[in-house]
């Protein structure tokens, strides 16, 4: 059995973790009742831990048990300041790692974090580093959420520096999810967040279940680590579930790779380095020849593609995970972040100059009473 720990850092990471627990309860409105009478139904042994310096964010969680919520005490919050966050982590490192230790040994750790906030973006590189130091044999995969671009320059700045630190870590790669890209899933911001969180949660659970299932065609944690180590070690996930109108597994695989079904905007044909395609469905829908042909088609552009087939009742469902050899969208983020930082720097200098000019008026004067 696969031992998995999912760590949600900061407000964004907490909410996606809560969505994971909600989906493990069955998801939807029924999970509100189910949490009072059922245990989360994870496909493997899954432990969850929400870490935050803001206690109010922890209180807003609905499907994560109290013992799985860790408040890192910090008097006035991070204020989106990663330096403060790093200091807070270092001060509370032992207690944080102690909480993780309590949950036993693991094979795989998911660290879900926003790249733009205070706690998540500052804690995640340090925490992953600690995890790899204390548990060198486990695979640590970061699920990093990119911010809405209009959220502000600090968030973009945080995202830029945070992403750089994450990519420099000796971890098993990053699965990117872009809020800006997935904004299309919901109308208003709140429902968009909910849908984004649920989408990420379902795909993670699908992945964990598939890695721990008896497959018709086997993919395992090792394959997943290989995929995540490919290219820039930055990847994303696509998902598609066929309906009754079209239950073709071939179409399902193709659709899972279409931009609309990805968490991060990417061109699989051009940018994918390695990929893993996991297909679930009733046996009658699982035409191995079609699956093989389709995987071979992907492999022609993506290099190596692992395929996993899980026989499970229902229409074909396909999860495709791939790492990218190029990430043009990231570059635009960095460019935007840099612009923002430069503009802010200039703005600050101008303000300082104006202030200095103002002070110059009284430079030679003394206070007269």
């Amino acid at each position: 059995m696969l031992n998995v720990i999912i760590l949600g850092l900061g407000q964004c990471g907490n909410r996606i973790l809560d969505a994971v627990n909600k989906e493990a309860m069955g998801g939807g409105g029924a999970s509100k009742i189910a949490k009072y009478c059922l245990r989360p139904k994870f496909p493997s042994r899954v432990e969850t831990l929400a870490i935050n310096t803001a206690i109010n964010d922890l209180k807003e969680l609905r499907y994560t048990t109290a013992k799985d919520r860790l408040h890192v005490p910090n008097l006035h919050g991070m204020g989106a300041n990663r330096n403060v966050g790093k200091q807070a982590f270092m001060e509370n490192r032992d207690s944080i790692m102690g909480e993780i230790e309590k949950r036993g040994n693991f094979d795989l750790a998911f660290v879900i974090t926003s790249t733009s906030g205070g706690t998540g973006s500052s804690f995640s590189p340090l925490l992953i580093n600690e995890l790899k130091r204390q548990y060198p044999n486990i695979a640590v995969v970061t699920v990093a959420i990119l911010p809405f671009r209009e959220e502000g320059s600090i968030y973009l700045q945080n995202a830029a520096f945070s992403m750089r630190e994450l990519m420099e870590l000796d971890a098993e790669g990053i699965i990117l999810a872009d809020n800006q890209y997935m904004k299309r899933l919901g109308g208003d911001i709140a429902s968009a967040y909910d849908r984004i969180n649920s989408t990420i949660a379902r795909r993670l659970l699908f992945l964990i279940e598939s890695l721990d299932s008896e497959m018709l065609s086997v993919t395992d944690l090792g394959d997943f680590k290989t995929v995540m180590n490919g290219g820039l070690r930055i990847g994303t996930m696509g998902f598609y579930q066929a309906d009754g109108k079209n239950s073709s597994v071939k179409d399902a695989i193709e659709n899972s790779l279409k931009p609309n079904n990805l968490l991060y905007p990417a061109n699989v044909a051009n940018d994918a380095a390695r990929a893993m395609v996991i297909i679930q469905g009733s046996r009658e829908h699982l035409d191995v020849d079609q699956i093989t042909k389709e995987v071979e088609k992907i492999a022609a552009s993506a290099g190596h593609v692992f395929k996993g087939i899980v026989v499970k009742k229902g229409q074909p469902r396909v999860l495709s995970i791939f790492t990218l050899a190029a990430a043009p969208e990231l570059e635009s983020i960095y460019a935007q972040a840099a612009r923002g930082m430069q503009e802010e720097k200039e703005k600050r200098l101008r303000a300082r100059k104006q202030l200095d000019d103002a002070f110059a008026h009284i430079e030679d004067l003394e206070e007269i009473y």
């Binding site: 949490k35 009072y36 922890l58 209180k59 969680l61 109290a66």
Partner: protein, 414 residues
């Protein structure tokens, strides 16, 4: 009773006169035999005269005033002077004069008139006095006098001076119990036409089944005029059970002619049952199990199922064990409960402690044969305090669910 008395009187007369009559009859038979032999000799001497001179006789039963006519002789029974002594008075006359004589006749003594039958007259013999008003008379006569005929009296029959006492003895009940008092009544009534004198009652021997309390032997008047009656009452106590034949009581009296007469009552049976005593049945019942602190009613019934009144009834009750069941007093007193009667009362009890309690009642009474004790009891159960576990059972799943939900809520409460 009167009729029976008369029959008894007649029977007595017959018994007393029978030895004399037999003697006289034997003598008469001897005389007749001798006279027959004599006449037979005469007949042999003169055959034709013999037939005419033959003496024959006829017997007649005459009542007072009845007469026998033969030729010109007339014989009339005037009265029966004494049945006891066998004396009857008859008047003998001859039409045309020459004989008109009233003579007392002793029974079986032949009386000759005009020389007697041998001499052409007649010979009369009262051969039996049947009763106070009739006698059987034999007339002897020569054949040539013709045939005698009986003429009934054309005078009204006079009852005469004849007392007739009827006697009755009766008890006021014919079935009684040992110890019961019974009243015996003896009534004498003169149903005759003459005064009864020297009346004596013979009511002996005393019955051994009774003790005589008062009025025995019964005393009545010495004499009773016609139509008068007298009675005597005496009291007895039955002392021995059984069926008893009460013997007849005899009354003896004389009429104005000092004729002794007797009469007796009819014997009868009475039944004396064993002594009647009171029997008290004690019945108790309670109103069933009671809850702790609840109340129960114990109903007590004292019923006299015996045949005598129960008197001086004292009822005393107690409860065992004495602690845990409290209530009013069971003690009561009643003066009398008649046979078939019943008294009821109730006592309210209050259960304090659970358990089985016995209410015991002892009733002492006088049942007519000394003091007696009867007891009764009933069980009163005070239930243990019942805890409504079944309702708690219903609560258990609810509590479990609530506890489960609360625990889950706590799990998710941060």
């Amino acid at each position: 009773m009167m009729e029976s008395g008369m029959r008894a009187e007649r029977s007595l007369k017959g018994k007393k006169q029978r030895p004399d009559v037999l003697r006289l009859v034997c003598l008469a038979v001897l005389i007749l035999f001798l006279s027959g032999a004599f006449m037979g000799a005469a007949q042999g001497a003169d055959k034709s005269d013999k037939d005419e001179d033959e003496v024959i006789y006829n017997d007649f039963t005459l009542g007072i005033g009845d007469r026998i006519d033969i030729s010109n002789y007339r014989v009339e029974l005037i009265e029966i002077q004494s049945v006891k002594d066998g004396i009857a008075v008859m008047q003998v006359s001859k039409i045309g004069g020459g004989l008109d004589e009233q003579r007392a006749f002793l029974v079986n003594r032949a009386n000759n008139f005009v020389g007697g039958a041998e001499m052409g007259g007649i010979t009369l013999t009262v051969i039996d006095i049947l009763d106070e008003s009739s006698a059987r008379v034999r007339i002897e006569y020569r054949k040539n006098l013709g045939t005698p005929s009986r003429r009934a009296s054309d005078r009204p029959i006079s009852a005469g001076d004849k007392p007739a006492l009827s006697v009755q003895k009766s008890f006021d009940r014919t079935e009684l119990n040992v110890g019961d008092e019974v009243k015996a009544t003896v009534t004498i009534t003169n149903e005759g036409t003459g005064k009864a004198l020297n009346i004596r009652l013979d009511d002996s021997p005393p019955l051994p089944q009774f003790s005589y309390v008062a009025g025995y032997p019964p005393k009545i008047k010495d004499s009773l005029d016609p139509g008068q009656s007298d009675s005597a009452v005496y009291m007895m106590n039955a002392i021995k059970e059984g069926t008893i034949q009460v013997s007849a009581i005899q009354v003896s009296y004389t009429d104005s002619k000092d004729n002794l007469k007797m009469n007796s009552s009819l014997p009868f049976e009475i039944v004396i049952n064993p002594k009647s005593i009171a029997e008290l049945a004690v019945r108790m019942d309670s109103s069933g199990p009671i809850a702790p602190g609840g109340k129960a009613m114990v109903n007590i019934s004292l019923a006299n199922v015996g045949a005598a009144p129960a008197t001086r009834i004292e009822a005393k009750g107690d409860i065992t064990p004495p602690v845990g069941l409290e209530g009013g007093s069971f003690d009561r007193s009643f003066f009398e409960i008649p046979p078939g009667g019943e008294v009821n009362y109730s006592v309210m009890l209050s259960g304090k402690d659970p358990g089985n309690y016995t209410v015991h009642l002892k009733a002492t009474f006088d049942g007519g044969d000394g003091s007696a004790i009867r007891e009764g009891s009933t069980e009163v159960v005070v239930l243990k305090r019942e805890y409504k576990y079944e309702y708690l059972l219903l609560l258990i799943p609810i509590v479990i669910i609530i506890a489960w939900l609360y625990r889950r809520h706590r799990e998710y409460k941060y």
